[in-house]
Symmetry: C2
Subunit: 493 residues, 2 copies
């Protein structure tokens, strides 16, 4: 059983299959009976809750409040903003009826044709339209601005090819929607929230990200600018992990939302929106985990430390428990989430394997001989290294180890990315290198045509025009036309 | 403006209109563009978040974990449990298509007839069916039990007559779904969670509730027993505030979920489900509020204390702020959420009215003369009484006031209920008294026929058969047949 638990496909054999197996074996999620929708299992949801709590605190620290808007959106709302409807119409789940009735032929229930809606309703793929229709009533004067609102919600996009956490028809997310009196303030807000996302990814998920702006082609449907954080997975592919949009006055115009400015002139309101989703779970899993299962950064691990007793009989367990209980209490006092697993229906070997697959950062094992010698065996999940330590002072030691694991996971991921990020000047070299799973910094002439040609020929897209890095002009590797600066290319999830 | 804020319909004139106005004026919620769906505004959502956080802690303390199941349910799942489909089929929002396309006539977007689903999907009205279909894969042996899972989610029931928070088409809730190896354990779980709800209602919402069991007629569709907490609103009507269901083996049978028991025999799994929703917001509002606006129990108030400075000029404000800042810091240290409202775009009178309407439990006002005398004016929202206190020790004093307000709101609501709960023995008296807005304890013969006759003739229903209270047998007030004990009747929301 323990062996079966760890019997994974190796990353080097099939990275994609390794991921799918890991999600299931680590008890994070599973496919549901509904096409493209997953069930998030308790262990997976506990990680998502830790993410939510931290992000929510960060949103509140930056002055945002939560609210809740309807799940269903009148179909006509979507059409109001031309790019927006273009972007989402093809993947909308449509509610057309509001009642079932007994099948006259006796086969369960059927849709009641008499209960057809006059106007169809769409399950929100994102909420700009319903929210800006609401903001119309909230905003009259510059004194009503800014509005800094966030919503935690489920959304639905009928995706054809789905993968758990990475791309599902229904997913959980947060969507911030802010309204501002000036263009400058809205632009600042969009950038500020991108920094919040970057801070969260790097300091809590231990996932290094590159901040930048999307090319016109990759912009959110209805935005003037889309900012993004891009992470590199272990296979060298990029995962877009969060986006923040400067929407200009597009939605204000579509829903006729104006305010009296300080000069007492009517003006359209400026907007941003920004979101991260359960997709972050995919980024977390794929950045750190290994062939033995999940590896979690301590700051997001539902169980940070597990203690497993190794004993022969009840008497032995009692002795170990007496020693362990004050240690458990001390961990709790220090704010560390600890589990003492003294369940007697599973062997220590099974427990070891299970917590390894689940990515618990530190495991303590304590047996009869440890008791006699006043020691405990400490295993770090990231390195799988075991060492024996004195029981005295073990809590201090583990707290330090947890900090070290958090930092070391980030460092390792950053090294991987730096090692696999290259600058390329010729399109031939680009085509060759992109096969190896790398981030490529290359010159591009700024046109959508060239961008699409590259995508078609290499499956690589412009992930972003990074905020930082080399800003030197050059010539496009494809067309030889002038290029303002290198941009970031990669294949992506 | 301040006057307009407080210009409410009086409860005594039109209780129902008073409620509707209050929800809007206190910035809790508003109607959306989608029929029967509300927008929960930031202030209303902040109260709901406090409720969620507390309930979630209580669920976790009793061993439950959160998870997430799909929003959409295949239509055929509903038909599997006969009572369940009967109960929900008539109010289902039905997804029939998965794509929109451009209208060939150029009128925005239309449903793409080519994208019709083979099987329609229902937006969950509750999740027993999709969850038990999932549990089938989770449960094999008694060792896999119990499963103690909760979900925070939105649900949808196409209600014809809606009122904000009390009855909306979409609402937010939590739904616990547990699976057990024995009937006894499942029954115990259902009762345990009812006690959690009662504890929460009484000790956090300050809303006294009566625990009991529903009559067969009022049971959840698919349950063997439904337990309920019933609260009395200020108009004497009942509000069902939370329910917990013992589902027997109904859903296990419908979805073929069996386990090998300790005797190694296959057996159907035993189930419970239990839920509270944003309806609790309605109970909270209607129990405590008055003709001046919202009254909130301190434990659920987003702002527990507001401090308003009264000043003539910048110099005056500076002096007051210097005095107030350490007090604010002290409140925060004590875990009290405090707002110092020194905004200069609103007059103190407006602020007073606004915080009164919003139900902030304690208001401190401090002006020039207070500074000179080392005093502060303290107003309690529940009594609207003002007193002047020394600034020294004001934090201690306010903390005590907050405790006192919490208790006193509960006591007042309990007194109201006790005052308006009567025992009645004749049906004529019942008909007369029920008009006055009371809870009536009366004998009933235990039949659905009599129950429905009473409902039809008086609009009163059996709210529950209370756990506590008079258990003496008697004769039914309507039919004269034997009655096991008095049951609780009321008109209800």
């Amino acid at each position: 059983m323990a062996k079966e638990l760890k019997n994974f496909t190796k990353r080097s054999d099939n990275y994609s299959q390794w991921y799918n197996e890991l999600v299931v074996k680590a008890d994070l999620a599973e496919q549901s009976a509904v096409r493209g929708c997953m069930v998030i299992k308790p262990y997976g949801y506990a990680i998502w809750e830790k993410m939510q709590r931290q992000l929510d605190d960060m949103f509140k620290e930056t002055g945002h409040q939560n609210a809740y808007f309807p799940l269903l959106i009148p179909k006509s709302f979507l059409s109001r903003e031309a790019d927006h409807v273009e972007g989402f119409a093809k993947e909308c789940a449509v509610v057309t009826h509001y009642r079932l009735k007994n099948d006259p032929d006796g086969n369960g229930v059927v849709v009641d044709p008499a209960a057809k809606l006059e106007e169809e309703l769409i399950i929100r793929p994102t909420s700009e339209t319903i929210i800006w229709n609401t903001y119309k009533n909230w905003i009259h004067s510059y004194r009503d601005l800014p509005i800094l609102v966030n919503q935690w919600a489920n959304v639905f996009r009928w995706e054809m090819r789905t993968r758990m956490f990475l791309r599902t028809a229904e997913f959980l997310w947060q969507e911030g929607h802010t309204a501002h009196a000036t263009r400058e303030e809205a632009e600042k807000e969009a950038i500020k929230m991108l920094h919040v996302y970057s801070d969260f990814a790097q300091n809590f998920m231990a996932v290094p990200v590159i901040m930048g702006v999307k090319s016109a082609n990759e912009r959110f449907a209805g935005a003037l600018e889309t900012y993004t954080i891009e992470a590199m997975m272990q296979d060298g592919k990029a995962l877009q992990s969060g986006t923040s949009h400067f929407l200009g006055q597009n939605f204000a115009k579509a829903f006729d939302v104006t305010f009296m400015n300080r000069n007492n002139e009517p003006e359209y309101v400026w907007a941003t929106s920004w979101g991260v989703s359960t997709r972050l779970m995919g980024a977390l899993i794929m950045t750190h985990s290994d062939d033995n299962g999940l590896v979690l950064p301590p700051k997001l691990a539902p169980i940070q430390v597990v203690i497993v007793p190794i004993y022969k009989n009840d008497e032995g367990l009692k002795e170990i428990s007496a020693k362990v209980e004050p240690i458990v209490a001390e961990f709790r006092r220090r704010g560390i989430s600890v589990k003492y697993d003294d369940a007697d229906n599973r062997r220590p070997g099974f427990k070891f394997a299970d917590y390894e697959v689940k990515g618990v950062p530190v495991r303590l094992a304590i047996g009869q001989r440890d008791l006699e010698q006043g020691t405990v065996e400490v295993m770090r999940r990231d390195t799988l290294e075991k060492e024996t330590y004195a029981l005295d002072g073990i809590v201090d030691h583990v707290v330090k180890e947890l900090d070290d694991i958090q930092e070391s996971l980030f460092r390792r991921a950053l090294e991987n990315r730096e090692h696999r990020t290259i600058s390329v000047d010729s399109y031939d070299e680009f085509k060759e290198k992109i096969e190896e799973g790398v981030f490529i910094l290359a010159h591009w002439d700024g046109t959508t045509e060239t961008e699409e040609r590259i995508k078609e020929e290499t499956k690589a897209t412009i992930r972003c025009i990074p905020f930082d890095g080399d800003q030197t002009p050059g010539v496009c590797m494809v067309t030889g036309r002038p290029s303002a600066r290198r941009v970031l290319f990669a294949r992506s999830y």
